[in-house]
């Protein structure tokens, strides 16, 4: 089928297979190096790119699995729904970034690749109405966030102007550098 199965459990399984494949490929790389007569240490060193890739895939799978497990525990239907969308987005975005791995693992076909992108766009649109609420839920207080752009009340431009006016360079209307450097230079030219 050219359609992807979007069940979260299925996506976790796909990540699992990808991780298993990359672990196997890294192990094969070490074995191939050894078969060429390289000592154990050199075989390892010549396979480290594959090994890091395998670890990365393992961690990616673990993080997605933890996310899925957490979503499964959420009882409130509203929260469950929005977190489920986010978990899907996390999984599908990763598939888009590592399409080659999933193709190589045989869990994704060439015909399905466009549907990954289509699905990603659908999830972005689904998250859009809840985006501000989802960051509100992090509960970062203005005082701690200390960001003009990230203010809870959204009054960004007023605050930015106020911030600029309090810049140390604005303590005096004419900065001392004008008298010290610019004015003498102007006089010389």
């Amino acid at each position: 089928s050219s359609q992807l199965d979007l069940n979260l459990n299925t996506l976790v399984d796909l990540y699992e297979i990808r991780a298993a494949m990359l672990v196997e490929l890294a192990a094969q790389s070490i074995q191939q190096e050894s078969a060429r007569g390289k000592c154990q240490e050199d075989s390892w060193n010549n396979s480290t790119i594959d090994l890091v890739r395998a670890s990365d895939a393992h961690c990616h799978y673990m993080v997605l699995k933890m996310f899925r497990d957490k979503v499964d525990q959420i009882e409130d239907p509203g929260v469950h729904s929005v977190m489920s969308t986010l978990a899907h987005l996390y999984a599908i975005h990763g598939m888009g970034n590592f399409t080659g791995d999933f193709l190589q693992a045989g869990v994704l076909t060439g015909a399905q690749v466009p549907s990954v992108s289509k699905c990603l766009k659908g999830l972005l649109a689904e998250v859009r109405p809840s985006a501000v609420l989802l960051v509100d839920a992090f509960d970062h207080h203005d005082k701690m966030l200390n960001s003009v752009l990230g203010r809870h009340d959204g009054n960004v431009y007023e605050a930015m102007f106020e911030w600029a006016r309090s810049s140390p360079l604005n303590r005096t209307e004419v900065h001392e550098s004008f008298h010290k450097h610019l004015k003498p230079l102007q006089a010389k030219l």
């Binding site: 670890s55 933890m66 045989g106 701690m144």
Partner: protein, 459 residues
Amino acid sequence: MNPDILRERQNATFDIEKLTNILDGGAERTNRRREIRELVGSCKGLLTNILQRGHSRLPTMILKLREYGISDPVEINWYKSYVHRFRGNPLEIHLAMFLPTLLNQATPEQMDRFFTPSWDLEIIGTYAQTEMGHGTHLRGLETTATFDPATQEFVMHSPTVTSIKWWPGGLGKTSNHAIVLAQLYTQGKCHGLNAFIVPLRSMGTHMPLPGIVIGDIGPKFGFDAVDNGYLKLEHVRIPRENMLMKYAQVKPDGSYVKPLSSKLTYGTMVFIRSLIVGNAGIVLSQCCTIAIRYSAVRHQSEIRAGEAEPQILDYQTQQHKLFPLLATAYAFLFAGQYMIDTYNRISGDINQGDLSEMPELHALSAGLKAFTTWTANTGIEVCRMSCGGHGYSRSSALPDIYVEFTPSCTYEGENTVMMLQTARFLMKSYRQVQAGQQLSGAVSYLNKVHHRVMAPQAV
């Protein structure tokens, strides 16, 4: 309130508070976190100029910490993050590593000697592991601790320039003690890395003790409030009782008693790496908060000719930059919760003598530390650039967050080395499967590999 952001909030489809509770681990935990936040926010001496040096805030910070009985490591992490907003402080390592290492690795007698003075800040400690010429590869560390049975002392020594301890936070000017990781020599044999409590400065005058060459390593990319330091030990003698002996021991005759596992020496690092996973989620959540709120009030260009400028959050490209990061922030916060819970569970097992899950915890904490910090670090920059030119202004807070979070990719284990540690565990597990063993835990999926045929894909 800005009308755009007001409209966003009026369309809520879920209870935000319930989601906040899930992130905190329950409504009670949310209340406790807010209590701590209020405490920090209401105390004038704590939240001041962001460029203020760390030391001036320390007295207020510590007194309030004690006054409110904040002693749980996770609560201390909340507290520190509210006070310093990830800008670090000179007591960072004392609180996050020195005290936990004592708790994990000191004998009851050593706890009596060292813990109360450390809690009262008579002893201010740091954790000196990394050397100028050696980082995450622990077996390569050169500092030696040679036992002298005649005097019942260890002789601590830095034999080369590259063996000088380098980087520990608070080592330069603040600490008067350090837990030093050194190669233990006794009865003519090297027994590998062990931890020793080394007095560095006089408790009264704070002057360096004889044989101790110590100072600050100089300006850095960020962390200006922290005095990262160097330490050269010149045949410094410390009593035998200053070796942390809960697991490994050196008897008065010089005989060495092995720990149940050499990994027990690095338990504190596993704990810190577990905390870093959650912190990556917190930092990413802060950046997403900034970028998404700004994207809701910022209007730019036009989608349909002649119509008003839309919120930039309505552009698909903006959503593509920010929403996957938003999902990632949640994923990392949950991963952080999982890691702390798992650390606590397995630590309990270790105290009961069950070390079976320790290798997996080591591997997972190393890999996840690298995975989350790499992703968060690049994510911060994506958030900054999604705010256009204003993201470059320090008023956005994004440049400061980037500067202060960047070291997490290298401290507590350089990320590539961390990934390779995880890989070592994966390869070991893979070989076990090939040998017909059944795996359990996080790598149990490898059991299936044995039964699967890897077929090349047609190109």
